[in-house]
Structures are given as structure tokens and as C-alpha cells.
Amino acid sequence: MSAALVLDAHQQAMLDGRHGWPQQLGMRMLAAVARAFDAAALLPVASVHLSLSGVSVGEPGLRLFEALRAQDGRFVVPTTLNVLSADRRSIGHAPAAHAKEQVQLRILEACERMGALGTYSCNPFLLGCNPAFGETVAWNESATAPYVNAVLGARTNREGATALASALTGYTAAYGMHVDIERRGSVLVEVDTPVQGSDAFAVLGGAVARAAAGRIPVIEGIVARPTLDEFTAFCAAFATISPLATFHMVGITPEAPTRAAALAGGAVDALSITGATIEAETARYTTAASERLDVVTVGCPHASLAQVREVADLLGSAGIHAGTTFLLQTNRMIAAQAAAEGLDRRLAAAGVDLTADTCVHISYRQPPPGAVLATNALKIAYLTASHDMEVRFGTLRQCVRAAIAGRWLA
């Protein structure tokens, strides 16, 4: 067993309530986490990414955030914000959701008054928020953790409301991804099939997570460095299926210059991902039996400008079928870029609903029960099964074709 947690004088003062209730509540969370993971110390964090969606935080969370703010709670490190349950640009314009949207507005205002930056995205990497190699951070939103750890070589655990504790206190518990040996791989995964494009990397992320079964995978066989879009698709899918916060790609990710460097040592299993594994992984998310289609959602994680352009290009001169809703989810910066190059008008004319700040999984605007939703996002496909909806999981190309036709095409 490790030594018991030792706090320095400042940390102990926070825990004792001498710096106010917000920092005391934060320290109580962090001390409990440290006790649960045998962490001997707390580490200073360089940044925090914080979840605040109205759907998940709810009115009890609103009361918490407003109480923290009222009692002079402050975010003491740079803090970015995750997706909202509404598009902030249009809050108040849709009367049906008015009351709930006000809850979301008050939560985000409390966060901003405590010092948070209004990024409102699950994909802050598109905005240039990239923790540096070796940096200690506390990032909420499970999809970001594998990107922070594996792709950037910075260090975060998969945070819950502990990210709020870190924002209030500036610390996190020294366990898990903050410990060198716990970042090393424990299973080899050879990818024996070509993988290219965000859709393929999303399925690969699910397949690798499933095969690794809780062991940190060391992946070989990826020939070219994945793009930012490919990596974020892979990471979101990986984090959906696996509880882990990291992986390695030999010769590609910074802590895996060689297979030996990435592995913790000792004999490990070697698994293989084949074309058949990818096909099986793809097939498991579709639950819809008929070709009926109500909603198409793309942009999970939030779409890059290249992905917004790709949707427009795939549509060409065609429009979305009158009976189908097409949600293209991104952040407000990309939405502004799309507007600047005229894509927003083109997409709107075709019937595409380009949303910023939000996401179908966490939005107050939910498709009705029994709806059939098609998506190229493995995470949305997986999560939608908890929403009384049926799912079609396919590629972006398949999703756009289906949206034009108003039905899923074999």
C-alpha cells in the first residue's frame, strides 16, 4: 500500500474550510479520490475542461454552481467548457424549451463568472486547446482523455465533477494517468486491415477498446499518422467502449517511439484486428430493422471545418428529404468559419441544421421516442440506445445519401 495522503499547509487550509466553502468542497472530493486510489499527494493542474450541460448537471447542479459562485468560488486555472444542452446563440428563441434553456443559461453564466472560457465543445482540440507534453491537467468529457494522454502526451484521468474540484482548487490527485507506470501498455493490438478516414478510425477505436478489454492497448500496423479528425473520432469511440484513458500507437504517439517503450514489460497477449473484426464492430450498433429514417446526426465529436465542407460536398445540389432532420454539430468558431465562406447558407438551403455548442445526446431538443436516428458517430450510436430510439450506424457518405432519400439505403 502507498503512504497515506499528505497535504501541504495550503491544501490542508482549503480542506479545513479556511479559504471558503467552494475550495473546501473541492478539496473534499479530491481527498476522497486520493484515498480511494492510494495517492500520496495532490498535483497542481495547468488547465481544466469542465462539463456543464443542463441535461447532465440539471437543476441540482445549477443550484451547486450558483452557490459556488455566490460564495466567491473562482476557477483558479484556465478552464474551458464542454457542450451545452442548447445552442447558446439561439437560447430564448425556441419557446417550447424556454424554461430548461434558462437553466442552461444560468449554469454557463455561473461558470463564466467564476472565470471559465466559453468554448462549449467536446472537441476543444479544434480550437487549439492542446495541453503540452507532460503537463498535468484535469479534463472532463471522457472522449477528450485518450486524446490528451495518448496523442498529446499530457496527463489527465477521466474526470467527473472532480474537474470542478480541480478548477476551484487548482489540484488533482496523483493517481492513474499521473503515474508513469500506469500509462504503459499491457496488450499488443496488431491492425491487419487498412484504416483511413474518420469513419474508419471511429470503428477501429471501438474495436480496439473491445479487444483490449480493459488493458491499455499498444497498437501496431497504423502506417500513416492519423489526422486530427481521425484521432478525435478514434478517441471518442475508444472512450465510449473502454473505461481507459489512454492507448499507444507505435511510432506515432509520443510515448510509444518503440513497442518496448510503450509496454510496461513482461509477457503480454497479442491480438489482431482484421477486416472481419471491423465489420463485426460496425454491425453491432444498428438496431433499426426497417429502412425508415427520421433524424441524421453527424459531428460527434464536434465537426471540423473540413467535415462541414465534406457534408456540403456530399450533398452537392441535393437537399435533405422533407421528412428527415439533419443535424450537423460543431463549435461556434467552426460555425462562424463556415458562415464566413458561405457554407452556412448553402447548408441551410439544403435543409441541414448546423448547430453550435450542443449535441443530440445532451440537447434539450430530443427526437421523439421511437424515432430512427442514423449517425456516423459510434458514441452517438451507442448512447442513443438509451434514448428509446432506433439506430442506423454507417459512414458519413451513407448518412448523407440516406438523408437525401429519406430512408436508409442498403
Binding site: 480511494a36 447532465s56 441540482p60 471522457s142 467527473g160 465533477a161 473505461p243 438509451s386
Partner: protein, 141 residues
């Protein structure tokens, strides 16, 4: 007959309730706060309510928003009475601190092997768990 198991208390507190036991990890983000009913696809508790129960499961899973869902469950009066994990995680810990739900882990002997769903369980301060022997006839139910 009462049997006492011992573990580490991560969030201190006392509680009592019927046990729910599973070897599957649980995502609190997929538990409906308004009803306490588990909506996690494929989970053995799918369709069952966790309200007022002492939950025994290995660890957390899924969305990191689970902490706030625990707070929401508490606010709606549908919180579990206590949570007992094999090894708990940060999402559950933060939610348990915010919602004031007693939380234990690393319990010996392993409750997943010796506590049955439906048994009456008492969580005591300091990490003790008292398990009432099943009444005659309960096993057949």
C-alpha cells in the same frame, strides 16, 4: 445471523437497504433521475430502479457526467442508499460527495461473491457492512 464485511469508507455515512448485486459496471449517466431506473443497454439492471437500494457493483463506466446524475438522483429522492464498489472511480466519488451517499470499496470478503440481491444490508461508519442472513424461503423467490 448477521455477517459483517469490512472495506474502506470513501464517503462516510450510515445506510440501510435491500442489496442489488451485479458483476457489471454501472454508468450513472444512464440511470433516469426521475425514476431511478437503469437505462444502460445490456445491463442486468436494465429497467430496475436503484432508489433506496445498497448497490454492489465493480466500478463505474461511461460518461464522466455521472457525478451530476448521482446528485440529480439524490435531489429527486431516487438515490441509492449506499454504493459498494470493488474499486470505485472518480466519477462516482465526486457524485457521492455532492449527494451525500455513503460509498465504500475494497470490501473483504468480496461482496459480489457472498451478498445476494434482495438481502437486507446495513452500512456502518468506518467501512463495516452488516448482511442479514436470508429469511427462510427467500432463496426460492
Amino acid at each position: 445471523m448477521t455477517r459483517t464485511l469490512r472495506g474502506t469508507a470513501i464517503v462516510e455515512g450510515e445506510a440501510e437497504g435491500a442489496a442489488m448485486v451485479t458483476a457489471e459496471n454501472l454508468a450513472f449517466s444512464l440511470v433516469d433521475p426521475a425514476t431511478g431506473i437503469v437505462r444502460q443497454p445490456g445491463h442486468p439492471w436494465f429497467g430496475l430502479s436503484v432508489a433506496g437500494k445498497v448497490l454492489f457493483f465493480p466500478s463505474g463506466k461511461g460518461s464522466s457526467s455521472g457525478s451530476y446524475w448521482l446528485l440529480n438522483l439524490g435531489d429527486e429522492g431516487n438515490a441509492p442508499a449506499a454504493i459498494v464498489n470493488t474499486q470505485t472511480d472518480a466519477v462516482i466519488i465526486a457524485g457521492a460527495v455532492l449527494a451525500g451517499i455513503p460509498l465504500l470499496h475494497r470490501v473483504v470478503p468480496d461482496p459480489l461473491g457472498c451478498v445476494a440481491t434482495g438481502q437486507l444490508v446495513r452500512v456502518r461508519a468506518g467501512g463495516a457492512i452488516e448482511v442479514a442472513a436470508p429469511a427462510a424461503g427467500d432463496r426460492a423467490a
